[in-house]
Symmetry: C2
Subunit: 270 residues, 2 copies
């Protein structure tokens, strides 16, 4: 079996949660990860700016010989997937469609909640993807969760309060509109690190769907593999970052789950 | 009296708190404000990246005919002021020296606390500026305060808790080391919006120094004006931003204190 070279593009370190799931589902591959850390966060920027950044980074990975590109950034997928697909000659998989498909399959009430960055929510990309599957969507921007995760406060009482405020607003709207969502989609790569905390504060009958895992399953199936994760899976990983290598090496392991070795700084002229 | 054209450079909207003070202290001027919103935040990025961005933006303002440049961004001042000065032919004033001078004059105990972004604190720019004035400095990075201000939570109990955690750590160190700082320097352009909240939680005998106001006083003196603010001062303001004009117009007034009219999008190729 020949090794597949897979590109993973993200605005920063968050996409390493997607890479982590990819390694578990598609091990023995070679991964080139691009983290556009000099220009993050994408979540609060405009569609034109995000599309320009995302296309540049994706072309860089294509030029390095990747056979398949995973757009790990929810915001870049939501706002720029079409631009990226049109700019490349290789297959491109974003995180929104797999997450939406997984959520649609998991929802009995045909109603789900999606949390993400401001830009992801304003794009309504998840809402459209779920509407085409007959599911109604309530979207909620949670801009403070990314900085809280990056501060390392994944089990901090302040983070729990902030999450309770954001989700409390969502569930209050649910009560007012007499709807009942039974799935919460984590529509941002940083949120899987908050899964234990979020599990405690959502109602018991609400399932949590992680777009990172859903995306890895889709990539596995596309490559003819079973969608089940492998225990102790490993892979060759090489990272390109547009800002500090040292900072990426320091923050990255929290998201990837193990240390990072090959990290190279590159300048896309931004 | 001829009108002076003054450039103000910041990574985003925060520098509008400096522009607000400039207008109060140097009214009847023409201000060109550059907000590098497509590449913010600078506070978590490396020195090389920040210097590259800051020099590009400063040259842009010089090309537009400004006679004096104010680097309103604490992080850009801390990390890139020398690069900016060397790249321009006009006088350049950053926010660190004026803030440090004001703090040194205000401190009887010769010991001050500076709060700012991670990059500003790691640069120790305030520490050096204060050490040269015989003042010892305790620096504390407060990375969550900027996103909390941008969420609009300037009087929110979560923001108060976060500020209490950060400042509590600082004052606990003060007790352990038996030092007593009597000045708190707001070393980030977003923090003036938290001044009422911070006033409540610092000890009564700690004075708050706002680098924005100190910088405006220095500019006024440089132009031969009295360092006192003018009531109801106005000025012509024109803004250039690298990301969404609409978002800048929406967020900006909170920092500037009045509506923004002339805002133009420009692309520096980033």
């Amino acid at each position: 079996m020949s090794t597949t070279r897979i590109g993973v593009f993200d605005s920063g370190v968050g996409g390493l949660t997607v890479l982590r799931e990819l390694i578990r589902h598609v091990p023995n591959s070679e991964y080139l990860y691009f983290g556009d850390t000099a220009r993050l966060p994408y979540g609060s920027k405009s569609v034109e700016t995000i599309a320009r950044y995302a296309v540049g980074a994706s072309r860089f990975l294509q030029d390095r010989g990747v056979e398949l590109l995973v757009v790990a950034c929810n915001t870049a997928t939501a706002l720029a997937l079409d631009c990226i697909v049109q700019s490349l000659e290789i297959p491109v998989i974003g995180v929104v469609e797999p997450g939406a498909e997984h959520a649609a399959n998991a929802s009995k009430s045909r109603s789900v909640i999606v949390i993400g960055t401001e830009a992801t929510v304003l794009s309504h990309a998840y809402q459209r993807a779920l509407a085409s599957r007959g599911v109604t969507t309530r979207e909620k921007a949670c801009p403070l969760l990314v900085p809280l995760v990056e501060e390392g406060w994944t089990e901090h009482y302040v983070t729990e309060q902030v999450a309770r405020i954001y989700l409390g607003e969502v569930f209050a709207e649910e009560i007012r509109s007499r709807s009942h969502s039974d799935v919460l989609v984590l529509g941002c790569t940083h949120y899987p690190l908050l899964k234990p905390l979020l599990k405690r504060i959502v109602p018991n009958d609400v399932a949590i769907v992680d777009s990172a895992e859903s995306t890895a399953q889709v990539v596995a199936q596309k490559l003819g593999l079973a969608p089940e994760p492998h225990a102790d899976a490993t892979a060759d990983v090489y990272c390109f970052v547009t800002d500090s290598v040292e900072k990426f090496r320091r923050l990255g392991p929290r998201f990837l789950g193990h240390p990072l070795n090959g990290v190279e700084h590159i300048n896309l002229g931004g």
